[in-house]
Subunit: 372 residues, 2 copies
């Protein structure tokens, strides 16, 4: 055996150069990445236990604490995308047979149900039609009926464009002996969130939306109440990679000397650090966004009904082919019914609004009607 | 509530520029990333369902097939680091109460035992002292005694520097109705591996070693036998993020139209694509490496005993502080006993060998002896 075992030849496809065209990304995420953040991700590597990397991780931690408005010491970034953080939240909080109530008004609730069932939890769904949000009364009835130990709810339901009001939900959950777990992947930085004040127990987001960093890391934070439930576990979490006890140590959250757990996506962390730094430099951003509260519309993603007689696919393809702009169709329950236009971070400018409106007018005048 | 709820102020740490010093990374990984791969990772983002990204994923797939020397259609990259691929392999292969035999001669076997136990598998350990490898006879005795459905073994045991000979193990496993799962995180590209010829059923690696890409994605491939076992599952895998049925669809391995599963770490994939492209361009690399077979020493990581009377920590700190070179101490069972020097991908040059040897001579003449 030596060269005669090389039966799979070098692939021709890889002898071509990498092709990455320029696009304006106005879909529900990822959004375009500003040059400063791209440059951070393109810096030379360091080792995953080097003091400079541990320092970057410490900076990410305080950046997340700021973005989430929390003082939780158990605050870190997951080495995976937003969906990985959803899984990390559920699998650390839930043990086999734990009761969990999932508020489902779009795809993210559906996904949380799928994950929690895989974990062997006793899963109950609180259902609302897509496009609607949950009132405190809806939640209270669900808590009283099912007596869950965890309530999952989505802050920004990016499949339908609904912003879920969070005021009072934390207190409500705590009165019923339940933890509040909030998905803020699509809303963080666009709609105000105050983790400590709103008594949210577990909050997570993604890096590729308003934070304008590439996908591949996901901020997450756990309250003292959540930490106590996890400390009381009788069984280990079903994942080693996402076991928060190990992650807490690697992120310096437990006061112990840091041990190797896994090789972190180091330059993805460099990018996330810069995304959080840019957020910290824009103090006014969060204040302005606070004005949107209680409008129940997700400010990061504008969802509009597909104009009657038009085919959504033809419109999105037209914008991509003729204007190099990405917007998206629906997802899950909204599939086929809506167009979703994202304006996040550095893409959220009035000139981009003009550009996408011009492109849409062009599409409506040139795409065929009634070809559904 | 609005600005008065901003109780956590913008962190001062994030108002400083990101600090990333230049280092020569000659530890067991990550290794330095060549400019071409860094540049690929710094390209502007595209959407995770854009045809250009799906094209890059197709190119990664054929690149992995080449690197692994396999024609398996179920070949893809996990959206996480090497440890995440270990978890993906075990959780897709194993169901609750499945019997698995884990060959343990260092930290990676120990970790596989931990993960498999969390999954509720019936785990048996085949033990060897750190620094030794397993003979076909060791394996055969284990298979006959425990009748496992999966055998886990580490090709490059980076904690001790041992290269596990793989010849014949696939056939042996198949004679005993068992699947062969191989960890090649530290060995791929440095020591020859021929997945199809060696009848390996599941093989995975990392991006940050010989492939010279940043950490954050992990190549994995499943044989037809492995695929059949997964199709026969009675229960869903315990993770949605790592469920290979979903991943197979997203990666275009199942012939069905591709659906959204999760937002992939897109520019990490750009980097991995370039790492695999560089491997494809160096056909001769694998041929040369083939000469190392049966030496039972991992060619990517040279492990040497700490010279008597010296403290390993003082030596590694001296190299970092005075020569900006990273080398590592032991890990797990080899902790405190060895120094580990990695020469991978673009770092594997004779001038780097000279540089690290000069630095080590300097350390031995200037570090204190007998201060253990």
């Amino acid at each position: 055996m030596t060269t005669n075992l090389l039966r799979v030849p070098p692939p021709q496809e890889l002898l071509q150069p990498l092709a990455v065209p320029e696009r304006l990304l106005l879909g529900p995420g990822p959004s375009n990445v500003p040059p400063r953040i791209l440059a951070a991700g393109g810096r030379q590597l360091l080792g995953h236990m080097h003091p400079e990397v541990l320092q970057v991780m410490d900076e990410i931690k305080v950046g997340i604490q700021y973005a989430f408005q929390t003082q939780n010491r158990l605050t870190l970034a997951i080495s995976g995308t937003g969906h990985c953080a959803m899984e990390a939240a559920l699998l650390n909080l839930l043990e086999h047979s734990d009761t969990v109530l999932v508020a489902v008004n779009g795809i993210w609730g559906q996904r949380a149900v799928d994950i929690a069932r895989r974990l062997g939890a006793d899963v109950h769904e609180l259902l609302k039609p897509p496009g609607e949000y949950f009132t405190p009364r809806d939640i209270e009835e669900g808590l009283a009926q099912h007596k869950p130990s965890v309530l999952f709810i989505t802050h920004g339901e990016s499949s339908t464009g609904v912003l879920q009001p969070l005021e009072g939900l934390g207190k409500l959950c705590h009165r019923h002996g339940c933890l509040l777990l909030v998905d803020a992947v699509a809303s963080l930085g666009g709609a105000p969130i105050f983790m400590d004040h709103q008594e949210i127990d577990v909050l997570y987001s993604g890096s590729q939306k308003v934070l304008n960093a590439p996908p591949g890391s996901a901020p997450i934070s756990f309250s003292e109440r959540a930490r106590e439930k996890m400390l009381r576990r009788k069984t280990k979490p079903l994942s080693f990679y996402l076991d928060v006890a190990w992650l807490a140590n690697y992120w310096g959250c437990d006061g112990e000397p840091r041990r190797y757990h896994h090789t972190a996506p180091i330059n993805t962390f460099f990018s996330l650090r810069e995304g959080l730094a840019m957020l910290s430099e824009m103090v006014s951003g969060t204040r302005q966004a606070a004005g949107h509260r209680h409008q129940e519309l997700l400010p990061t993603i504008t969802t509009v009904r597909v104009p009657e007689g038009y085919n959504w696919k033809e419109i999105t393809a037209f914008l991509m082919d003729n204007h190099a702009i990405e917007i998206a169709g629906g997802l899950g329950p909204s599939a086929g019914k809506v167009l979703r236009i994202g304006l996040m971070g550095c893409n959220s400018t009035s000139s981009n609004v003009d550009r996408v409106l011009r492109a849409l007018r062009d599409a409506l005048s040139r795409c065929h009607r009634s070809r559904l």
